[in-house]
Amino acid sequence: MLPRQGSTIAGPMDDLYMFIFWLSVVFFIIIAGQVVWFGMKYRRRGPGEKTPHITHHLNLELAWSIIPLLLCIVLFFWGFDGYMKATVVPGDAMEIQVRAKRWQWEFEYPDGIRALNDLYIPVNKKIRMVMISDDVLHSFWVPEFRVKMDVLPNRYTDVWFESTIPGTYNLTCTEYCGKGHSTMRGSIKVLTPVEYEDFVKEGPPELKNMPLRELGELVYKSRGCESCHSLDGSRRDGPSWKGIFGKTEKFTDGTSAVVDENYIRESLMNPHSKIVATYEAVMPVYKGLLRDREVLGVIEYIKSLK
């Protein structure tokens, strides 16, 4: 019923969940059982049936008021305890800054490395996410960690977790934020300590050995290029990549240049220096967001699009 337990707080939280679940099952069986059983047993046999005149029964009524009340108080304290454990951040947590914007997650590590949508973290380490939104409300949810917190504009909120099993976990936005709400996903890749060190140096493991063209395609799909640059020559917010390599582009300032490796790199790092005529300056800056090898990948990928 619940997704796998990926963090230290998942276990206790699931215990509570299962407790409420079985409690509900018991109460449901009692009530539904009565309804169905009475419905069959006391079914009207004829028009003249007499029924007993039972108006109330104080002790019975007190019992079914007080017992649920006590159970509810238990639930409250249990839930409050779990809530405090899940939200009070331990002092020794590693801090990662999160900036949510429509419709992507931007992360920044303490040493300044930045990542988009994919977060790599070490296993068995307490992580605190300090979050802020660029626009509307978002909400940070990793189902397998059982953590969720809204991300607000102009105010920091935080959430913490300590993952227990290396692997990939989904991150989703759970506060409705418009058109791209349901695709505002990210992934949290929990790495072993060795892998994490490697990551800090060279980037994510599965990308390291990928052929450049494939890496470029991945960047195209995962870093938002797709939404503005088509591959089939059709017009979107930016020029199509089909056959663009080697073409001469005219710019809004009247100059022109051939699309080559240097031009592509410049367009990624400093896109607003040259704007292709008839387009608007809407391209985001990818400086610091792409590793060198990923830039090379994009160049190779564009070259391959004849």
């Binding site: 009565q34 409300l137 189902p143």
Partner: protein
Amino acid sequence: MADVKTTGAHVHGEAAHHASYLEENKGIMNWLVTYDHKRIGLMYLWSVLLMFLVGGLFALLVRLELLTPGEDLMNAETYNRVFTLHGAIMVFLFIIPAVPASLGNFVLPLMLGAKDVAFPKLNLASYYIYVVGAIMAILSIVLGGVDTGWTFYTPYSTSTAGAVTLMTLSVFVLGFSSIFTGLNFIATIHTLRAPGMSWYNLPLFVWGTYATSVIQVMATPVLGITTVLLVMERVFQVGIFDARLGGDPVLFQHFFWFYSHPAVYIMILPGMAIISELIPTFSKKTIFGYRGIAFSSIAIALVSFLVWAHHMFTSGQSPLTNAIFSFLTFLVAIPSGIKVFNWTATMYRGSISLKTPMLYAMSFLLLFTIGGLTGLFLGTLATDIHLHDTYFVVAHFHYVMMGGTVIAFIGGLFYWWPKMVGRMYSEKGGALSAILVFIGFNATFLPQFIMGSRGMPRRYFTYLDQFQPLHQFSTVGAEILGAGILVAILTLVASLRKKPDAIANPWGGSTLEWEAQSPPVTHNFVGTPVLEHAPYDYRHAKVEG
């Protein structure tokens, strides 16, 4: 049956048929300017049923789109508009007015032995305010649509395009319709009870409606000012909810839920009120724990004002606030539990007749129990963190709103239908609809609890492949549910083609409305009814059904 002495010539069985409210003053113009609560109730009934069908159509569109991940029927923007309209129409135009304004309007004065509500003109005005609000809401679809979700959370609602301002104003207008209905009912219950009808002789439907009216009067004005502030924020950027200007977007949620949580009880209390009538009538047994049910309605109404922020446990409000509201939320669970236990106890050793309304009442008991129990997961702080804003929540509130209120509403409609139109419907059709609705409803929403727990957020246009089987199951369930509703409506409409055949008290009901002829005369009773026995006292019953 409460023994009633009427001073007129109205005697059971052999009563001369007086011209009913349907037969007098025919013609559309007479209906449009009528002050008769029964006619206004019927006009409300057709209007809310129309809105129910529109909202239901949007629901089916949502479910169809979710049959597969990705874009099939509509794009993300359209989908967002469709689910917003589904929510807004169902909440503001259907459920909130459904029971009080249609059935309540019809039945309440009859139950009190009154000739009309206290302010008949205000009653009619409130209907037209509703119509204006409904037209504004429909217009906003044409004029750009609304994609904020029915909750209008800022800053999304203050920055998105579309007809949000018009929709918000429509909610403002509809709020007044609701306020006037509530105000009217409170004054009616206080001043127009039949001679001999003390507070403890009130039918439980009246108690439930009274509690509902208290919330309508006390909470709806806050919705009014919230919508005004939202419009101000959109038009003038006054800054109160806009974080960039020094405002607080979470404050909007406080404002919104201060109304909208009590509003949840505006929706469910009338449903409970109907069930409190159906179960004793069809068990032919006095209600168990009359005072427990009556006071729990009032308790729910009062405590409902103190639990609103449990919609905001992950919103960034303070942990202290979370703790306070979680605790208060559990308190509101107790009176609901008391009611359920009292209802089942009423069935004990009864003479249970499984007519259509009773089938709906029993469905209500099962579905509302699930809805209530799943609420425990959400009121508990720790588990709510995981479940908040997921399909678990969607399933939970559908179990309460649809499995609770709508099922009770349909049950009540079948119950009072003979009184309203003077005709009996086909029991087979009714029973078929009850079974289809029950199966379809569970098939639709049970899978959503699992999806939510596993990680499916709400308001998603597309989803991960792992959820597809459950989504498909849910969509199929929604089609069955839709078919069940259709059967119910067809059954009722088909009965209109018959000649009037309903006797005054076809079910052996014990409250005053069954003393009036079916359908009643314009001023309800021929003569003045005087109540001599408490309601639900079947020792004095003269069984007719």
